[in-house]
Subunit: 168 residues, 4 copies
């Protein structure tokens, strides 16, 4: 039985903009349509929640990697809840468990996820990021970083990465 492909969607919680949340929803839905699992930090707001909600709507399976030591505060759309009791320490587990990580919006926790992914030679897609963010992260792992403007381009990039790694 082959392993399932997991796509991480990382981005801000409280500080995500309405437009970013809509894009996260669309991304989760598009990931689900490809038959991949959507994984996020699992909380009930922001990019974490929106991507999981989109994935469920798209008929996909979802994983929330939760910060607390119970399921409390989880997104209603996290079907599989990994309970870590590690707060932001779970960020490393989130990116290690994702075959590709897509980053949408930016905040300190999100930046830690990109950095930890690159540290571990994992593939990252910077979706809709500004020039400073792109230059900062390109400097530290250019072969593993791709840049995209919208959801369709992101899905195309994920397919390149998945193909490269023979993950399918």
């Amino acid at each position: 039985m082959s392993s399932k492909i997991i796509i991480g969607v990382m981005g801000p919680g409280e500080n995500a903009t309405p437009d970013e949340n809509i894009m996260a929803f669309d991304l989760g839905k598009a990931i689900a349509k490809e038959g991949w699992i959507t994984l996020t930090g699992g909380r009930s707001f922001g990019i974490m929640d929106a991507a999981l909600k989109g994935a469920v709507e798209g008929g996909g399976l979802t994983i929330g990697v939760l910060p607390g030591d119970t399921e409390k505060g989880s997104s209603d759309h996290a079907q599989i809840k990994i309970v870590t009791s590690m707060g932001s320490g779970r960020n490393y587990i989130s990116v290690l468990s994702s075959h590709v990580t897509v980053v949408l919006g930016m905040a300190a926790g999100t930046a830690s996820e990109v950095a930890l992914a690159l540290k571990s030679k994992k593939k990252v897609i910077l979706l809709n990021q500004d020039e400073i963010t792109i230059r900062f992260f390109k400097n530290m792992g250019s072969y593993n970083v791709l840049v995209s403007k919208d959801v369709p381009e992101t899905i195309k990039h994920i397919k390149e990465f998945v193909g490269m790694n023979k993950l399918a």
Copy 2:
């Protein structure tokens, strides 16, 4: 969308007996038949591997919570691989993420999982354990510990626990 029910199956790796491995296989298969997810420590031998293999054979979904920082060494039967980079530190995540933990065979890592589960008021079923083990753990969390002799009794106990917590 309701959360999926996850049953952890914990037990020794290299030191599991052939009989324990057979029982773990049967248990994974029975868990799958109930529609529950089987979660283990995800390595490619012992109870971890046998329970996942049984669950896949029973048509169920499986999660391996892996010790390393890559998927290397994973059981072929772990469909969803949670990559922790925590070694035995992942034991806490395994039990926190399991709605009920079943323990089969005994070794130091397994004992840590029972203890961490009880510390967190999680439900534990001691399957086919000796008198010392039962008395040791009953002393530290009697309401959350049930004892079973075989797979059917274990499934019955899981249903009691799942019902008590309205997890379904």
Copy 3:
């Protein structure tokens, strides 16, 4: 510059008996007199607090490996605070960082520390434990487990372990 020797003292929090707390205080003081560092789970009550208090009174250095993501709730006697944000997940770090772990009193968290220490082939001294506890843990790591009745015997055993490993 040689590495400092760290002795972990593990035991219950709220449920420690007054006699156990007195013994933990005496043990911390005796560890300090030997020039060793005392490490505990760092909270402000029970064995964790009492051992650190004794160690400070004995003129020793102390480490608290804390559960939260800030120093809040720390024992006043933890001079060096390691802030883990891992709850009981820190138990693994506590025993891995201790050259020898002494266990005094028993509860679920404490049992997880003994088990994780033995899983990692670390040295453990069971101080003033009952017969079931001793038999349970002896079964899973007899060469790394010693039993003691009081503080002087514990210090003698620590010296044996420290000598064996040429830690000094």
Copy 4:
């Protein structure tokens, strides 16, 4: 007994430049002269090793927060070894345990430490960083970020932060 002040020094391992290693040594030495503890990721090369070596030479106490599950690979200058078995997951513990984190040189692991520190509202000093790095991190936590050009300015900034928090 008051808590000791811990200053984290974070930076690249293999990819640190000779000039950065010299600056890390000088910084460790200057931290020690102030009576503060120096904490790093504890490995035997790069900024981690150089800062600890300087701190020991300055008569200070040192902590290495190690990635493996044993002391193997530790800097010889880490007097207190915190053994985490978490790989880069330990980065969160390193910054949470540091009252102020100084960042010198830049790589993916280092970037994750800055980001995790800012996520947790911890104080960070960017030492000798380029314009992109400064702008990237200033955007996500300006009140908690200070910039310095050399070791004396860094020590001055640490004192401001320590005073602000009444850590002393």
